[in-house]
């Protein structure tokens, strides 16, 4: 499958990936409105860790053997057998955060339900990758158990 791969050496700590992720997962899909006016405020599913000297953007690895899916106590977290995308069915999630407690890269955000990267399934190209000014994020085929 295709995954988002971060190139740490190129990351500028500008956090635009967070901004555009939040916008892509907002109601209005508008940068300004998503940031200032929406309630509940949309949440970025990618996080830039570190500081200006050394930073890297972290989001879901859509693992081949996903710890979050194996631990989910309701069946809400699942891996699509065709696309390989790991996502949370928010209508069935009870927000217990067992998935968050076992994700080894720490990419699930707490909320009313678990919130995580869905690789922008609807548009086909992740907003973080599209909007990274320095190509520190790339969307590439990496193999794995779903093609």
């Amino acid at each position: 499958m295709k995954k988002v791969i971060a190139r740490e050496a190129l990351c500028l700590d500008c956090k635009l990936c967070e901004v555009f992720c939040r916008t892509a997962h907002s109601k209005s899909k508008d940068v300004v409105r998503a940031h200032l006016y929406e309630d509940p405020a949309p949440v970025a599913r990618i996080t830039v860790e570190g500081d200006i000297l050394d930073s890297v953007a972290v989001n879901c690895r859509h693992c081949d053997d996903p710890a979050c899916v194996n631990a989910c106590i309701t069946g809400a977290m699942h891996k699509d057998p065709e696309t390989g995308i790991v996502s949370c069915d928010e209508s069935r999630c009870i927000g217990c955060m067992t998935c968050l407690a076992v994700c080894p890269v720490g990419c699930i955000k707490p909320g009313r339900t678990a919130v995580k990267c869905d690789l922008c399934q609807e548009t086909g190209e992740p907003a973080c990758v599209k909007n990274c000014p320095n190509r520190a994020l790339v969307y590439v085929e990496v193999g794995g158990d779903a093609q």
């Binding site: 791969i5 860790e49 570190g50 631990a71 955060m97 968050l100 720490g106 699930i108 707490p110």
Partner: protein, 417 residues
């Protein structure tokens, strides 16, 4: 064509069935359950009780999943006995199977109490059936008493709170959630329960009930009497080992299994989930770890070995995330260990406690501070030497704790771009 039988259609049973199907597209898989439902989420029953989840939303998989993957689920079918190669149902059918999994889970543990048992308003809180019965019985003017302030008792309390006049939890230990929390964290949780209308009485328990057909009051060890219109027994659970014992398998509290393969001492009969004695990789002890993720992993391991594929179980440790009235609790690993030090950080509305031993993280308790807790869990599971990390472990954890090489490996899985 191989034939597999799985007794118990819950966390461990379903995960075994799903894994068997991916390993062998042709085999026949039959899941037996004495419950009337397709596999459902047991922890969800408290959400059903408080109406956050409806009766049709409890299922782990949509019903067409089972036809699509040719997994036969025999509901309302209790298994009476198993032996190497055969299984007998309570209805008297004897069926042949190549391999059998016991995923019979837990049963409620009920301590002896005077005049408690047959009354219509006594409940346990382990199954959807009991949750339905409880929901139908609870009325706004009722006083509910729950025995046991463990995970299940407190989840019952939270679910019942909006349905009745008062909820009182009686616990024999001197704190709430005694098996997962340290004293300080337990105090915080108790105060939060109190603020949300759940009273807890510690160091006390019910010794007797009044009422023949219906309980009207309970008397405590301390001599106190509480009005009681419904009583929930949630003292604890114990492994359901009946079938294993009948089969002559070794049982010592939980069913004894080969720690790598999940096979019991009866060849061809495997066991997984709450019913087995798991091997805790953190202290090397064998114990009952009655938690969902553990049951799922053991069910998978059993599937590989039932199908004859080499696959060693990675071993167990406790990891648990729950919330009560909006207070998030996340715990992992050991709560105490000899020679361990505790790192603590507390602030307005949150608390973090990390247990460190021999330079390894061996446990944590996080109250309203579970952000990126999975990083801590991975440190525990992989027994990472804390000297190889940089930064303050008590800060919100992240991949920046690791060296660049390790971090890049975690993020790219070795892919170079």
């Amino acid at each position: 064509m191989k034939q597999y039988a799985i007794v118990g259609a819950s966390a461990a049973g379903l995960s075994c069935a799903k894994t068997l199907r991916t390993l062998d597209p042709d085999c026949e898989i039959t899941l037996f359950t004495d419950e009337p439902f397709l596999p459902y989420s047991r922890p969800i029953i408290s959400y059903y009780l408080k109406d956050k989840v409806q009766a049709d939303q409890i299922y782990l998989q949509p019903s067409d999943f089972y036809t699509k993957h040719r997994i036969r689920v025999r509901t309302n079918t209790r298994v009476a006995a198993v032996q190497t190669g055969t299984l007998t149902t309570e209805g008297g059918e004897t069926l042949k199977f190549d391999k059998i999994l016991l995923a019979t889970g837990s049963v409620p543990f009920v301590p002896p109490m005077e005049n408690v048992g047959a009354q219509e308003n006594v409940f346990t809180f382990l199954t959807m059936r009991e949750a339905e019965r409880l929901k139908a019985y609870a009325k706004p003017n009722m006083h509910a008493v729950i025995i046991g302030a463990g995970l299940i008792g407190l989840k019952a309390a939270e679910g019942l709170r909006p349905l009745v006049e008062s909820v009182t939890v009686v616990e024999l230990a001197d704190k709430v959630l005694p098996s997962i929390l340290d004293d300080e964290a337990a105090k915080t949780v108790r105060a939060h329960l109190d603020a949300n209308g759940v009273e807890t009485l510690l160091g006390d328990t019910v010794v007797r009930a009044e009422g023949e057909k219906t309980i009207t009051a309970v008397t405590l060890k301390s001599g106190k009497t509480l009005p009681c219109d419904l009583l929930v027994l949630a003292v604890g659970v114990r492994p359901n080992t009946v079938l294993a014992e009948r089969a002559g398998a070794e049982v010592n509290r939980g069913i004894t299994v080969n720690r790598d393969t999940m096979e019991t001492t009866v060849p061809g009969v495997f066991a997984a989930g709450d019913c087995v004695r798991s091997y805790d990789i953190l202290d090397g002890q064998e114990k009952i770890i009655a938690l969902w993720p553990n049951a799922v992993r053991e069910g998978m391991t059993a599937a590989y070995n039932m199908a004859g594929q080499e696959h060693k179980d990675t071993g167990s440790f406790a990891v648990n995330a729950i919330d009560f009235f909006g207070l998030r609790i996340c715990t992992c690993g050991l709560i105490r260990a000899e020679g361990a030090t505790v790192l603590t950080r507390e602030g307005e509305g949150f608390c973090k406690r990390l247990l460190v031993k021999d330079n390894r993280l061996v446990g944590f308790v996080l109250l309203n501070a579970s952000e990126r807790a999975g990083i801590y869990t991975a440190l525990i599971q992989n027994k990472v030497d804390l000297n190889t990390l940089s930064g303050d472990l008590l800060d919100e954890p992240g991949l920046m704790l690791f060296s660049r090489e390790v971090r890049t490996e975690k993020l790219t899985g070795g892919v170079r771009v």
